[in-house]
């Protein structure tokens, strides 16, 4: 009797395991399915990157980074924190559009936006944990000492809180996956409060990441240093988020078609064009703000210097041009062109963050451009974290109802 019970329970567990974790396949089937070129590449990257991350924790930061006293921040934070956070504004932008402003048509993309945002913040924290000297003290700004005059104090608090908010926002998908009903009702009820909390926290910490550089006027090149930098960071994160949703949704349809439902696929082109429109409007606003910034500080003269050319290239080649591609795509009603423009725009935002945090920072140091080339170990570390990010994203989208509806769960 009890023996039978155990067998039944094991069977239950096996079917749960296959259903939930192996996507309804058996182990051998699942393993065979996993052997794809992408996975092989991922395995290679991880087999190099993970030992390097291990080295960082055993031998200290000097084993994997430049360990420079003049360049305390390198690729890990420039890419992972300053680049990653604006691209993760997706959750706050999509939730605000849908829940607050009532753009109901974008429903199929809301969960995707929230997931991309949540994971973006999660990984920003992971980059931070690999880069700070004593990661096990990560909670110190919350408990041990309050640097209340510090912008980073604000960022720490907001990122931590917002991560929780985003987890709650995404939790209905997890609960549906686990087929729970009770808690889900509660999760739905707090959506509006969570969304408004998300707006507050996002506007503040997106701009705060820019405000962090306000402390360093002598070090950041004057074309990038501006008292408007918080506004630049916030406004560019808005269009970065729209562009990210466009790109990620396209990749999902292309590479994870089975996880999408017809509702998602049929609406995607139309929604993509709508998002593209929002994105180029955002880019025009950003471009105008940047011009006002240069005019306000009267830095026109600096444009005729090498850093000025670089600045002009960023502004024209990576803000204005991608926005025109988007305009063209929207006008032609071509989702394909809009997607290209969106990818281009995202590259532009990344370039801006790398410029502020790495290329235009310490620009007066002798041999500056030589110093900012990251060592291969740091690059391998970052690549490994990017890979884990993608794998985890795929794992979730393949299993949880993100870009499809879960049968038995109606609208909310």
């Amino acid at each position: 009797m009890s023996h039978n019970g155990t067998v039944a329970r094991i069977d239950d567990f096996r079917s749960w395991f296959m259903d939930k974790l192996l996507m309804g396949m058996s182990w051998p089937e699942y393993m065979r399915k996993m052997l794809t070129p992408f996975n092989v590449l991922a395995a290679i990257i991880l087999s190099v990157g993970i030992p390097v991350i291990g080295m960082r924790f055993i031998y200290g930061l000097s084993a994997v980074t430049h360990a420079s006293h003049d360049y305390p921040w390198g690729l890990t934070l420039g890419w992972g924190l300053f680049g990653g956070v604006p691209l993760s504004a997706t959750g706050f932008i999509m939730a605000t559009a849908y829940y607050i402003f009532g753009f109901k048509g974008y429903k199929p993309l809301v969960r995707l936006g929230v997931l991309v945002g949540f994971m973006g913040y999660l990984f920003a924290v992971i980059y931070l944990l690999t880069d700070i000297g004593r990661p096990w003290r990560i909670y110190y700004p919350m408990l041990m000492g309050f640097g209340t005059a510090s912008v980073l104090f604000l960022v720490a608090w907001h990122v931590a809180t917002y991560l929780t908010v985003q987890f709650l926002e995404f939790s209905p998908a997890i609960l549906e996956w686990l087929r729970s009903t009770r808690v889900r009702r509660w999760a739905n009820m707090i959506t509006i409060a969570m969304t408004i909390a998300g707006i507050i926290l996002s506007t503040l910490h997106q701009s705060a990441l820019g405000a962090m550089f306000l402390l360093a006027p002598g070090k950041l090149h004057p074309l990038w240093y501006s008292s408007y930098i918080p506004h630049f960071f916030l406004s560019s994160s808005v269009y970065a988020a729209l562009a990210m949703v466009i790109i990620v949704s396209a990749l999902v349809v292309r590479f994870m078609r089975k996880s999408t439902d017809t509702n998602f696929r049929d609406n995607l082109d139309r929604l993509t064009i709508g998002l593209g429109k929002g994105a180029f409007i955002g880019m025009f606003v950003y471009f105008a703000l940047k011009l006002i910034g240069v005019a306000h500080d009267d830095h026109w003269g600096l444009l005729a210097t090498p850093y000025g050319y670089w600045f002009a290239l960023e502004m024209i080649g990576f803000v204005l041009l991608p926005s025109l591609v988007l305009v063209y795509g929207v006008k032609k009603e071509s989702a394909g062109i809009v997607r290209m423009g969106a990818a281009y725009a995202v590259i532009g935002v990344l370039l801006n963050r790398i410029n502020v945090s790495i290329i235009a920072f310490n620009w007066q140091m002798p041999d500056h451009l030589h110093h900012i080339i990251p060592p291969w170990q740091e690059t391998a570390m970052v690549l490994a974290i990017v890979t884990i990010h993608i794998l985890l994203f795929r794992w979730i989208v393949n299993r949880m109802p993100v870009v499809r509806k879960e049968p038995g769960y109606d609208e909310h």
Partner: protein
């Protein structure tokens, strides 16, 4: 979410306490009892916080602890003997250097303070007399309103009332934002340590000056290039030297106003840019530059919920009207 407003409240409480304490100190001699004043100041402070969340004005009046110490380096006197480096190394128990302190080859490169050296001396060329070397000693400048302290999210730095800016490794989690913020690139990080990495920088020999002594480097300098004393007195001394020998010095005391004033002052015969000092630093303390931003935080916290809450309610109401629902029907539905 609930904790955030608390955090930002604390923010201002902290600021306010700070200022109250400072005020208290200034008023001490006028016979107001400490306790009473502290109580009053805290009360006033709290009211001020309620009335004026950004509370920026209170800061500006504070010009630093009156009797704080400082240092003066006179580059026209420095002979590049590196006795200060040696004395600092010994006084602070730092690891033995790779090249001995009388090895002149170190001057072939530009060095900076590191995890093993609080201070270093570099050699520059006098632009007017290329044969004549000029030496510059580098270390923490013990700013009046230090950028490093404004940057640190854990408050690991303290500007002591004696003048030195001190760092507490027990609080630091190693984000290195202080290094980003320091206008003089002073703090170094002990990247080699996996378990206990920390920031390293000159402490102005705090323990020695508390016991009435003078910093080791000033003590060791055979040429009298490094002088220790009250910052106010040193400023007068610096200006007197420039006044008495206008041909010998350029007419500028570096650190009098830069980034709100530094505890360590410098006079020189060659322009400071030629000695690698950062130029175009603003005269206001860096913290002033972020105050506007931080002042907007409480506004966002109060205005955004109202604004977006209203938008949400208004649009929802419009939808309901569009769906031709009467109030009654809506209510019924709500009850279901």
């Amino acid at each position: 979410m609930g904790k955030i407003p608390k955090g930002s409240e604390k923010d201002h409480e902290g600021d306010e306490m700070c200022v109250s304490e400072k005020k208290e100190k200034q008023q001490d001699h006028s016979g107001v009892s400490r306790r009473k004043f502290l109580k009053a100041a805290t009360l006033v402070g709290c009211t001020a916080v309620i009335a004026n969340p950004s509370n920026a004005s209170a800061y500006k009046e504070f010009e630093g602890w009156p009797d704080r110490y400082g240092m003066l380096t006179d580059f026209t006197l420095c002979v590049g003997c590196r006795s200060c480096e040696k004395a600092c190394n010994e006084a602070n128990g730092l690891p033995a250097p790779e090249r001995s302190f009388d090895d002149g080859s170190v001057f072939n490169e530009m060095r900076r303070p590191t995890q093993d050296a609080y201070t270093v001396v570099n050699r520059y060329q006098d632009p007017n007399e290329p044969d004549k070397p000029v030496y510059r000693k580098i270390q923490c400048n013990h700013c009046n309103e230090p950028a490093c302290a404004s940057a640190c999210p854990i408050h690991a730095y303290t500007k002591t009332k004696e003048g030195p800016v001190l760092y507490d490794p027990d609080l630091c989690f190693g984000c290195r934002y202080c290094m980003i913020a320091c206008p003089f690139n002073v703090p170094a990080y002990d990247y080699d340590s996996a378990l206990e990495p920390k920031i390293v920088k000159c402490v102005m020999c705090y323990d020695r000056i508390k016991e009435g002594g003078i910093p080791a480097c000033a003590d060791a300098c055979p040429a009298g290039a490094v002088t220790f004393g009250k910052r106010d007195d040193l400023l007068k001394l610096a200006k007197k030297r420039i006044y008495q020998k206008p041909d010998r010095y350029i007419d500028h005391v570096y650190g009098e106003h830069e980034v709100g004033g530094t505890g360590w002052l410098y006079i020189s015969g060659v322009p400071f840019e030629d000695l690698g000092f950062p130029k175009d630093l603003p005269n206001k303390p860096p913290i002033e530059l972020t105050k506007g931003f931080l002042g907007a935080v409480p506004v966002v916290f109060t205005v955004w919920p109202a604004l977006f809450g209203t938008i949400y309610a208004a649009l929802k109401h419009r939808d309901e009207l569009e769906n031709n629902k009467t109030e009654h029907q809506v209510k019924e539905e709500g009850e279901k």
